[in-house]
């Protein structure tokens, strides 16, 4: 191998390569043998499987050699516990997403190879978001992911609402990433390098309230907070979530958020965290943003009647909780964020999957009324939905509680008592609107009797998420240890 491309580089890159390759494969296959959707699904799954295998090897390597990290391409990408943990999350999300999409796209009548390709390419981007340690890499990775999502959101091209969502998402996304990269340019200006380590050094070298640093912080955080849909940069989220195909919404709400969060943490906290040194500058900003996010997310969700939109707002408030973990900033906090992402993946995707199950020909199935009497029509789905909602509200013994538990603990440890009180109180508010859904499922009478659109994939994914949501709630030990090992270096 040339010194261009060492074996290490290769080893580190395997997952990304797999994703890119299989992405192209789906495209080609769809082009050569059209209308063989089953195979498309298989190829996509295979791609994910290989990726998983690659990740597994890297995990094994790290644990066997005991290295904290493995960096390649002279340091633009680094595999460490953090990156791996988040990549596992992305993978799970993508897996579930692909499984549920099959039937759903059939129903929507927009079933094309590009869809799977985009999923895989987005994965590829996320990989670098979690693993990148270079401004350029991160930026390109982010854009890659973002582009894929713009397209997927607008994938139902016949749907006005889908177009609109895509358009809005793209405009605002591009706008925000403009600011992000502006901030990056300033960072580069400070460090004369794009490596995060160098940047970190340069920032640390300047005193805290240096205007240039602040300029960087302000502009960068615009882009970052936009991606995790934090107030006041959240407004794309409800529209995009509502307009997008539900499977994409689920994926967007989980994977994109997780990836952006990883990105955010790379920049703000996790080693080498370029802006970690400027904590005292951005912590107050983040606190304000977090409070605003919790408030807006929870309050606005209260009188939504469209379940997708309701969940969109709720996911905004969850972003607020994750931010709180970041604000606390100690180990517990970061572990908390990781655990939160973990449980959030399952419970949120689960909730959206039930919505998907309700989507049938001629039935949108997104409205509260469509949930009416679900408990009679299909008690299992109702029960699962209840489970997911309880978890989202953070009621033990469900996974959601564990996540919130860490956040609260971190806040108490770092003495943010007021924030803690606020956070728990908002848990109450959240319960209120989640139980609007519960109420219409269990108390109200069914309006229409059409059987749900369920497929093996959906049932599998749903069952798995439900099971995990419960298991993590009752016996979180292994998962906590996973988070522990992956984050502590």
């Amino acid at each position: 191998m040339s010194e261009f491309y060492t074996s290490t580089d290769h080893f580190v890159l395997i997952p990304a390569i797999m994703l890119a390759l299989f992405g192209c494969a789906t495209l080609l296959f769809d082009f050569l043998v059209p209308h063989q959707r089953r195979f498309l699904l298989v190829i996509a799954l295979a791609g994910l499987a290989f990726t998983g295998y690659g990740l597994w090897q890297q995990q094994a390597y790290l644990s066997s050699t005991g290295f904290a990290e493995l960096s390649a391409f002279n340091g633009v990408v680094t595999i460490d516990g953090f990156a791996l943990f988040f990549n596992w999350m992305f993978l799970l999300a993508a897996l579930i997403m692909v499984l549920v999409s099959y039937k759903y796209l059939e129903v929507e009548g927009e079933h094309h190879g590009e869809y799977y390709a985009l999923v895989l390419f987005a994965q590829c981007g996320m990989f670098f978001l979690a693993a990148g340690t270079d401004l350029v890499t991160l930026f390109v990775g982010l854009e890659l992911m973002a582009l894929c999502f713009y397209i997927m959101v607008g994938f139902l091209r016949g749907e006005k609402r889908s177009n609109e969502a895509a358009m809005k998402y793209l405009l605002l996304g591009a706008f925000s990433s403009g600011f992000l990269v502006y901030g990056f340019s300033v960072l580069y200006g400070m460090a004369a390098s794009t490596k995060l380590t160098d940047v970190a050094a340069a920032v640390a070298a300047r005193q805290a309230w240096d205007p240039m640093v602040f300029l960087a912080v302000a502009t960068t955080s615009v882009g970052l907070l936009f991606k995790i849909s934090a107030v006041p940069f959240h407004m794309w989220a409800p529209d995009a979530y509502e307009g997008a195909p539900t499977s994409v919404t689920a994926y967007l709400s989980v994977a994109s958020k997780a990836a952006s969060l990883a990105f955010l943490m790379r920049i703000f906290w996790v080693y080498p965290g370029p802006l970690a040194a400027a904590r005292e500058v951005w912590e107050p900003l983040l606190i304000v943003v977090a409070i605003a996010t919790l408030t807006v997310g929870n309050f606005a969700a209260i009188n939504q009647t469209n379940v997708k939109r309701l969940l969109a707002y709720s996911s905004i408030s969850h972003a607020g909780y994750m931010l709180l973990g970041l604000i606390a900033g100690n180990d517990t906090g970061i572990k908390g964020v990781a655990v939160y992402v973990l449980v959030y993946t399952f419970m949120n995707m689960g909730a959206f999957m039930v919505v998907i199950a309700l989507r049938r020909k001629e039935i949108i199935g997104e409205d509260l009324d469509d949930f009416a009497g679900l408990a009679h029509r299909s008690p299992v789905y109702a029960g699962l939905m209840l489970l997911f909602l309880l978890s989202l509200a953070g009621i033990p013994p469900t996974a959601g509680f564990i996540g919130k538990y860490y956040i609260f603990l971190a806040l108490m440890e770092t003495g943010h008592y007021a924030l803690a009180v606020l956070a728990v109180l908002f848990a109450g508010v959240a319960l209120y609107y989640y139980f609007k859904i519960v109420r219409s499922m269990f108390v109200r009478e069914a309006v229409e009797k059409t059987p749900l659109a369920s497929s093996f994939g959906l049932r599998l994914a749903l069952g798995a998420s439900g099971l995990l949501t419960l298991v993590i709630g009752i016996y979180p030990e292994p998962f906590l240890r996973l988070a522990q090992t992956s984050l502590m270096r």
Partner: protein, 713 residues
């Protein structure tokens, strides 16, 4: 057999009877407990009094009439046995503890050492309780027998007897208890039974209300009693009578001149007593209680239950010895109640109400005696009073029975020959209560007056009140006799038809009680008569109980002449009262009306019972709004509306207030929060205009804030 160790059985016999009635009663007496009625107007005529003819209904009923009085008889026998064996004991005290009933945990007494908060299921037999159980079982038995006839045609026959037995059980528990908490058990129990029995005709609204009133007024007294008990525990660390007496006897405590903690206990107990024994200000329930069947009035509201207060104070005699102030209060309240009630009784027309007020008045006498420290006399009067007042009530019952439920004396008269037995027995009773020498009432009442005069606690004023009351008593009793039995008949013709002497089951008890009313007095003849032995039996018998009381109570001996003088005076007044009554209502019936016309306002005040009910009405119920209207009616009306006697008005106001508070302030706060949240949520949604550039603008605004924060820093 050793009755002394079996005294714990005495209460159980009636309890067994009651249980049997509760579980088997409906089998034995299959007729419906009380027929269902929709038309309220039916209720009035269904006063529940049997109409003519008396044949026992069915074997079941017969068993009931055997069983229930039987159990009481059994208790009577055991009581007599126990009493006899007690008299053989040197110290005349016997205590039987079955088990620890209230087994509370350790606590710190006021003085700081640890004690246990416990109460035995234990019984104490001493001369005092011996007297009481004899009265309860004896009179109780007679009244049971009487009821067989009286209730013969009533529905819920078994229910009636069940309650009656239950009452006897609780009453016996009360008097036999060896500690305050257990006494309180009986105390509350009899209250309950009186509630049940007053409201026996529970389809009669007035009856039910009266029952409720009785229960709740008693509850007011009871709460004071509870506090008294708690304070006792705090001070003495125990609730056992003997232990407390011992502690006092051991001189750990000294007589209190001011208002110390002991006085507090004493007063609390007395307040409790005023509730149960219908003393001012809590006496108003007793007249209403006459809604119940007459035997109940006789047993509970004359002979036994109402005397529980007297018993309890007597039981606490050592305590009261140490608290002269409390004693003074007791005496004053007693005297005041006595004359107040007597004055009201002067003008009542309902035969039972006259007796009811007379009872209140007589109880006042007893408390007067207790107050001046003449405990044995009080108990003596209780003893005699039990006989003649029960007699009078039963007699009146018999009259009412004969008159088919008529209770207004203005529609009676000239019954003397129609119901001779009743007449003669009642004659004896009236003489006795009026205080004619040789009859029971004379001895006890006269002794009370003498003690009031002579005892250190007493005073001329109290004596004056007492003797005035005596005169009134004589007057209203003979007013009753005259209006009922003598003169020309004012009976409504249709009732005239079937006036009849009561069945033997009713007359026999009358006779027995009449005999008692003559004889029992001789157990306590005045000292100046210089009779000995049995004629001072009562005082000697009780001596050990009130030993403590007596040393201090032993006062400088006045010369006999004064005692003779006073005695003569009281007798004279009694005779005068009788004569006056005869003159007014027999010789020359026009006078009362003339007088009434002359002293209209005064008469009204009396007949309105000094407006006490109205005053309560005003104070508690809601007099502020409607004052007028028929007193009792409006009173009950308010009670029912207000929910509770006493705090009715206050209650309604405050609970309205609290409901308002609930809905508007507390819930209001919550709803307000919810509302604001919802309210806030709208603008937050409205921000989401759907215009992509608005969103961008918000982002820019965010940046503005960021930089602003930097500059503002």
């Amino acid at each position: 057999m050793n009755f002394l160790d079996l005294i714990w059985l005495i209460p159980l016999f009636p309890l067994a009877g009651a249980a049997a009635m509760l579980f088997l009663g409906r089998k034995l007496d299959p007729q419906p407990p009380s027929e269902v009625m929709l038309a309220p107007d039916l209720a009035a005529e269904h006063g529940g009094h049997p109409h003519g003819g008396h044949h026992h209904g069915g074997a079941g009923k017969f068993i009931v009439s055997l069983l229930c009085p039987g159990t009481v008889l059994l208790s009577l026998i055991f009581s007599i046995g126990a009493a006899w064996q007690l008299s053989q004991l040197p110290d005349r005290v016997h205590q039987v503890v079955k088990f620890t009933w209230l087994a509370g945990l350790p606590f710190q007494t006021a003085s700081g050492e640890m004690a246990r908060f416990t109460a035995d299921w234990g019984f104490l037999l001493d001369p005092l309780s011996a007297v009481m159980i004899l009265v309860v079982t004896g009179v109780g038995f007679l009244i049971h027998v009487y009821s067989i006839g009286y209730m013969a045609h009533d529905n819920g026959y078994y229910r009636f007897f069940g309650y009656l037995n239950l009452f006897v059980f609780f009453m016996l528990t009360l008097v036999l208890a060896n500690n305050y908490p257990l006494l309180f058990v009986g105390w509350e129990g009899v209250g309950l039974c009186s509630y049940l029995l007053i409201g026996f005709y529970f389809h009669k609204k007035s009856a039910a209300d009266a029952g409720k009133k009785a229960f709740i007024v008693n509850r007011v007294g009871d709460s004071a009693f509870i506090l008294g008990m708690l304070l006792t525990f705090a001070v003495f660390g125990t609730g056992r009578f003997l232990d407390i007496n011992a502690a006092i006897g051991a001189g750990q405590f000294h007589a209190e001149q001011g208002f110390g903690i002991l006085t507090a206990i004493a007063i609390l107990f007395f307040i409790g007593a005023t509730g149960k024994s219908a003393q001012f200000p809590l006496y108003t329930w007793l007249p209403d209680a006459m809604e119940g069947p007459t035997p109940v009035s006789a047993l509970i509201h004359a002979a036994t239950m109402v005397t529980a207060g007297v018993y309890m104070v007597a039981r606490s005699a050592p305590l009261f010895q140490l608290t002269p102030n409390a004693g003074m209060i007791v005496a004053t309240v007693g005297a005041f109640t006595a004359i107040l009630a007597a004055s009201i009784a002067l003008v009542q027309y309902d035969i039972k109400r006259v007796l009811a007020y007379s009872t209140v008045s007589q109880l006042g006498y007893m408390f007067l005696a207790l107050g001046v420290g003449a405990y044995w006399v009080a108990v003596f009067h209780l003893f005699t009073h039990a006989f003649f007042k029960a007699l009078l009530f039963l007699g009146s019952g018999s009259v009412i029975h004969a008159m088919s439920g008529e209770q207004d004396m203005r529609r009676m008269g000239g019954l003397k020959d129609k119901i001779p037995v009743t007449h003669w027995t009642m004659w004896v009773g009236s003489v006795a209560i009026a205080g004619i020498p040789g009859f029971a009432g004379f001895f006890s009442k006269d002794e009370i007056l003498w003690q009031t005069w002579s005892a250190p606690g007493g005073s001329t004023l109290l004596w004056g009140v007492g003797i005035a009351t005596a005169a009134m008593t004589a007057f209203y009793m003979w007013r009753l006799m005259n209006m009922t039995f003598y003169g020309r008949s004012r009976v409504a013709p249709e009732a005239e038809a079937h006036i009849h002497e009561s069945p033997r089951t009713m007359t026999v008890p009358l006779v027995a009680l009449a005999a008692g009313s003559v004889l029992v007095g001789w157990l306590g003849t005045p000292k100046v008569w210089n009779l000995t032995g049995i004629f001072h039996g009562f005082e000697n018998w009780l001596a050990p109980v009130f030993a403590a009381a007596h040393e201090s109570g032993e006062h400088a001996h006045h010369d006999a002449s004064i005692e003779w003088l006073l005695m003569g005076l009281s007798v004279g007044l009694a005779v005068a009262g009788i004569a006056l009554a005869r003159w007014f209502y027999h010789v020359n019936p026009s006078i009362p009306d003339a007088l009434e016309a002359r002293f209209k306002p005064f008469h009204t005040v009396l007949s309105r019972k000094w407006y006490v009910d109205e005053i309560y009405d005003f104070l508690f119920v809601n007099g502020l709004s409607k004052g007028g209207g028929s007193a009792m009616a409006s009173f009950d009306q308010r009670i029912v509306d207000g929910g509770v006697n006493g705090a009715g008005w206050l209650t309604r106001f405050s609970s309205r207030l609290s409901i308002w508070w609930d809905t508007w302030i507390i819930d209001g706060a919550v709803r307000f929060t919810a509302f604001t949240v919802k309210l806030l949520s709208y603008p937050m949604c409205l921000l989401q205009t759907g215009r992509v550039q608005t969103y961008a603008l918000f982002m820019v605004a965010g940046i503005l804030v960021f930089f602003g924060y930097y500059m503002a820093r």
